[in-house]
Amino acid sequence: MKKCDFIETEKLTAYVDGELNDKDMQEVANHLKECETCRVLVEELEELSSNTLFHYEQIEHSFELPNLIKDLNEKLKNTENITEEHTLYDNIIEFPKEKIKKEETKANDNIFGKIYRFAPAIVSLAAILLISIIISNNKPNTTTVNTQAKAGDSVTIDSLEYSKFNAMIYKTKDKNKTVIWLFKENNDNDDDGPI
């Protein structure tokens, strides 16, 4: 078969994928009518495509991940097992304020279940922060604290308290974000203040 130098062969790949612009698609189509070499290559590329798909489908059908959802739920629930290092912002889920207010009106247990499951990975971080955050017994609506996790970073916290956990809306000066984190209330530490 004759070698063809009318067209860059890469264009044939893009043609097979329908990834050329209209003008180039037309140009290749016209060329294919006249050039057997390119026509054969296009057919081969198309066959390769479908065989590659077949190959990956075979792999896909050869295994199952039967426990993944269970394992994921386990990880999402079990906050004590989180050992990886976290940065402060890495662990904070953005949470619209309106949402929190809405949740506030519902029963405590219900909120606990919902939000706790929604944001469990941050609990361990919050526990670390708890060490350095003064939570007064008066349960103030707003208090300014410094966190150890990001030294010198001034944050404003609106604290919401429930029987099983605390939720906080968190703002920093430089990052104009409203976020929330949650943690189980630890009665032993209540009066200890910062360590």
Binding site: T9, E10, E19, E44, L45, S62, F63, L65, L68, R117
Partner: protein, 189 residues
């Protein structure tokens, strides 16, 4: 966007656990296969897959819907996998080499199905041929084919994930296919 994807995202954003589980069901194998392509180890790929979904769960609120969900997820998958790979390599290169050799030892988390005998006979030849040829490809070329043929991604999506130009996608994909063609021919002879 795939069917239902928009609805899924919207539901997960408001904390719908069922929707999250559906997302996991839909994408778990695909994520796992991408991770496996990078890590070449089942238990690492499984860990990576979990990490990806934990991150998706955590950050879906930040997901801007101007790129598709799977493009976003595959970006995370690549980053997570490369992260795990680097960590392991730094931890102990010897140990990692050992694991690499033992990749045929299945972990408990991954269940391997066996096809029926008839299916096996029908598909064996093409499967074996393809598997052998695919194995000869470089990781870059394999990933390229996987994203294009299996994930059905556009050049633009692939370019975004791999942070390369569309032109590079075209030429890399072309080389991947030409190499595959060559290796398949070698197998026939």
């Amino acid at each position: 966007m795939r069917r239902n994807e928009k609805g899924l995202v919207a539901k997960i954003k408001v904390g719908d656990n069922k929707a999250f589980e559906e997302l996991v069901q839909t994408y778990q194998k695909r994520i796992y296969m991408i991770a496996y392509g990078i890590l070449k180890n089942e238990s690492d790929a499984y860990d990576a897959t979990q990490d990806v979904f934990l991150k998706v769960f955590k950050y879906i609120k930040n997901f801007k819907e101007n790129s598709s969900l799977y493009t976003w997820m595959y970006k995370i998958t690549r980053n997570v996998s490369i992260d795990i790979y680097r960590k392991k390599r730094n931890l102990s290169s010897v140990e990692y080499g050992e694991q690499y050799k033992n990749e045929s030892i299945y972990t408990d988390s991954v269940h391997h199905k066996v096809a029926s005998p008839i299916e096996q006979v029908q598909k064996r030849e093409l499967s074996v041929k393809m598997a052998k040829a695919m194995n000869k490809l470089s990781d870059d070329h394999k990933l390229m084919l996987q994203l294009r043929e299996f994930e059905d991604m556009s050049y633009a999506d692939i370019a975004e994930i791999l942070d390369i130009s569309k032109g590079t996608v075209m030429s890399r994909l072309h080389h991947a296919r030409m190499n595959l063609k060559k290796y398949l021919k070698e197998y026939d002879n």
